[in-house]
Each structure stands twice: as structure tokens, then as C-alpha cells.
Amino acid sequence: MKQILLAILFLIFFSQISFCGRVYMVKKNSGLSSIQAAINQASNGDTILVFPGVYTEKNILVNKSLVLIGKNYPVLDGEHKYEIVSIKADNVVFQGFKLIHSGVSSLIDIAAIKVFSKRNVEIKDNILDGTFFGIYLQKAVSCVVENNQLTGEGTTDQQSGNGIHCWQCDSIRIIGNSVKGHRDGIYFEFVNHSLIVKNISANNIRYGLHFMFSNNNSYIANTFKNNNAGVSVMFSHGVNMFNNIFEDNWGDGCYGIFLKEITDSYISGNQFRRNTTGIFMEGANRVKVKKNQFIKNGWALKIDASCEDDTLAFNNFLGNSFDVGTNGTLVSNFNHNYWDKYEGYDLNKNNVGDVPYHPVSLFSMIVSKNPSAMILFRSVMASLLDKVEKILPSLTPENLVDHNPYMKPIRL
């Protein structure tokens, strides 16, 4: 027992020593007025404190395991030419800076902060303003990107980069950031086992969130709002999306979420409000969509015939112009949803309607074949067609049916 205690004490003592690096103060008009100079002097485990001021140091290269802390947001200016900070060491903490005017290039991806193939880097509490790419993680592992505010000023796809861009990463945590005005708010390619929590991605030129070939990631409590093309996710499996909000994504080819070739995923507790299309599924297999709210969307769901074995249950569909649109017969399982357009009855009072609900209306089929027909929406003719189809179904997919529709909205 004594030995163990001693061992613990010994460990604590030595760990204290190993973390107690020196502290360098970088201040304008003092002996040490350049961050790069401080980095060059420091050794692994040291801390660099940067005091307020504008630092134009072209490219700052962090090649040692340092803690860089900015006090009251010292400004690092990239003069519209340079990549501002390049991190090429493990265990770096980069916190509390304001980075402005990174270079813009259509040949190389210039970022405000770039991490090159390193581990355990923490990028926290920074403000990025007018940057091309914001935070760029390349082959990074176990990194944290937390509470950063990114504002791009791109106007076209070519002239803007992504806010938080991760390529070939693993075990990344992206928490509480806000991204505006970039090409894609959050962009992943080949990123696995990562966690994306409480971020706000709004008013981006292309997608709020965009990922490809990124498996086993979780997206929790994020807000994707008013992005030019909503959220687009492709070619991935094991995607978990919980309690996110997808709002105001308007336009043709603009979706709350666009799921392409997504398999074995779980979408739950999300809110889809006022999107042209809430969820668009193409080649999505074994995806569970449960306990979501679809409110006032143009189409709550569009499911292509290429989808198979998806489960849609316990969702609320409220005030959508169309509930479900499809382009063929469908092998997906709808069950226990609440549809505000349901007109059936409940004789045994178990809160489950006795008549199955067919969420695809004839008119939504007509519109999907011939978009101009939208001009007849809600006309007497259109309602007549829908009523006739309800009594004698012939054109709408027969097996797209909710056998147990709820009578009242589900409390979520």
C-alpha cells in the first residue's frame, strides 16, 4: 500500500515538473515582440503568452509542442497573402487569437490555421475574420476545435474556402463553433470516429455541413440555417445525427439534409423547419429516421426508389406542403408517425388511427413528374384528384403506407 502511494506521489511530482515549462511574454514594443521569435526560443512544453496588438508575421510556424495563448484577442494579420498559422507539432494549444485576412488562392488551400498530420492539437476560442479556409486539419488525430467564431467573406464558390475543413482525420472533436459566409461551413473528407457538437453553421455559400467517406461520426445539437444548399452528406456509414436543427434552406436542389449513399445511420430528435425539402434520400439504406419534427417544409421527405430498408417512425409531420415525395415504388418502413393531414378515425381510442395513411398524394407525384404543375397546387382540381386517389389508389405507391398513424402529435 505504502509503495503504491509512494509511486503515485512520485508520478504526481514528476508530471508536475514535466508540464512546468517556461512562459514567454510576447508584447509589442518590448524585448520580445514577435511570436515566431518566441517560438524559436522556446522548447517543448513551454507557454507563449501574446498580449494585444497587431502582429503581421507572414506565416507563423509552430513546430514545437507549445501552448500559445492570446490575451484579449491579439490580431494576427495575413495581409491577404499568407497562411497565418501552420501547426506542425503534437500537443499544441492555440487559444484566444483573432486571425484576419488570410491569403486567397485557387491553386492551394490557404487556411488561417492549418494542422499538418499531428496529434492532440487544441484550437480554442479564436476569432477568424475574412479568411479563405478557416481551420484546416490535414491527417490530424485526436484534435479539438472548440468555441471558435469563423466569418468568411466569400461571394462565389471559387473565391471562398471551407470554414472547418478536415481531411483524412480521426477522433476529432468540433464543439461550439460558429461558421458563417464560407463555402461549406463544416467539411469532412475521410474523417472517422469524430464528434461534432453544438456548432452553428449559417449563411454559407454552399453547404452548412458537407461530408464524404466519413464513417462513424456523431453530429449532436448543431444548427444548420439558411445555407445556400442546406446540408449534404454522402458515401458514409454509421452516421449519427441527434437533436440538430435544420432551418430555412430554400431553393431548388436545396435540402435540410441530402443523404446520398448513406447506410446504417440513425437520425433522431432533429427539427426540420421551413426547408424546400426536409430530407432527401438517395441510395440511403438501413437508415433509421425517428422522433424528428418536420414543420412547414415544402416536402418533408423525398425518398428515391433507390433507397431500401429505411425505417421512419415516431416522427411528427406538421404543416408541410407535401409530406412525402417519391419517384417509384418503395421498400421502406413507415410506422407510428403523426401526420397532420391524416383524416382517419380511431374507434378503439388507443390514439392510433384505424385506417392506414398514404403519405404520398397523387398531386405530389404529378409535381415530381412535371414541376410546372405546382401552379395548380391547392386548386379544386388538385384536391379532387387527391380525393379520388385516396378512395381508389392506382398511381401512388401502394406499399408506401403508415399502418399505425398517430391521432395526436407525438410529444418530443
Binding site: 426547408n275 417544409n297 406542403s321 410546372s372 404543375a373 405546382m374 401552379i375 379544386v380 382540381m381
Partner: protein, 255 residues
Amino acid sequence: MKKIIKYVIVDIMRNKIVIAYTLLLLAISFSLFNLEDNTDKGLLGLMNIVLIIVPLICIIFSTIYVYNSAEFIELLVSQPLQRKHIWISLFAGIAIALTLAFVVGVGIMVLLYSFTATGLILIGVGLILSVIFVAIALLAAVYTRDKAKGIGIAVLLWLYFSIIFDGLVLFILFQFADYPLDKAMLVLSGLNPIDTGRILVLLKMDVSALMGYTGAVFQNFFGTAIGMGITLLVMFLWMIVPVSLSVRKFRRKDL
């Protein structure tokens, strides 16, 4: 002229059918807003009422009223009054009375339960449609001497505007599906006041769905000030043209 309008309004107000119409609208809008817990669904129901019931009642009631006051019109014609003034005051009287009924029946409820842009547009469309269908009814009535035939024509016109026209549009849409029809659809919708009114309401009610491919065309047109101006102009023409045509006919009509 003012006196005739006043007389017509008072006469219609005493009419049991208009009172019943007002009460019907009131009952429908009250129950629609109270049945559903969300007012949007109530508005949706009311939209159907505004686009179907209001034109129907307006066109049939006005036609019948014109035929029933044939003797009164003959009396007026024997007075030193211009025929044009007589006819226009008759139109104004009926239109004012029916729009008043609409305001009491639907307008108040909408203002109480759903004082939104959608609600206001709905009231506006209802008012305009009331006037337009009174104008069309007068045109139908002045061209036929026989009462039964006149009412038949009125009903047919209503049927045409609310159902047959849309059927034709759907037919055209599918026959010419290979061609870009967005602009043509805009023009086509202008040929039917009910469709124009419906699209105006849709632009507020289903804006998310309309922002899709074709919808964007409508939004770009109706959403702008110019598009809105043109739409209102078209609606206005739908009031003016039938009335002026019927005035021309009435001036030369052998009573």
C-alpha cells in the same frame, strides 16, 4: 347615382339570402379556426372557402338579383337617368353589399385568429374575387333575357373558372411537358382570377415548396413589386372589362 347605390345596398341587406350567406361564412370561419389547434390549417380551409364558395355565391346571387329587379330597373330607366349610371350603381350596390358580407363573415375572424401576412392576403383575394364575380354575373345577366338560362350560364361560368380551367391547364401541362412552360403558366394563370388569387395566397402559405425549381419562377415574378403590380392590374382588369362590356350591352338593350 348615390341614391340608387344606397337603395340597392339597403335592399340587399334586407335580403334573407345575404344574411344567411354572412352567417354561413361566419360559422365556417369560426368553426375552422376553433376545430384545429393550429391557425394555419384554419387558414387553409378558409382558402378553399374563399376560392370556391365566395365566387359561387357571388355569381349566382348577383344574377338572380339582377333578374328579380327587372321591374325596378325598368322603373329607373323611365326616369331621367343615364343608363350607364343605373347599371354601374347596380353593380356597385351589389358588390359593396357582398364584400361587406365577406368582411363580416371571414375578415373579422381572420383578423382575430390569424393576423398574419397570409391572412391579410386571403382577405384581399376574397374581396377582389367577390367584386370580380359580381361583374361577371352582371355580364351573364345582361346578355340573356331568360332567367333560367342566365342562371345556368352563371353556374357554368363558375364551374369553368373553378374546375374546368384547371383541368385544361393540367391537360396542357402534360401534352406539352417537353417544353419549358413556366412563363406560359404565368400567362395562363392570369386568364383565371381564381387561379391568380390562389397563387397569391400560396406565395405566402407554401413558400418553402414554391421555392423549388418552378416555384422560383413564380416567386421571382409575383414576389417583386412589378410582378405584384401586374397581378393586381390583371385582377383589376377582370373587374373593369366585364362591367364595361355589360354597360355597353345594357345601353342598347331593349328592355
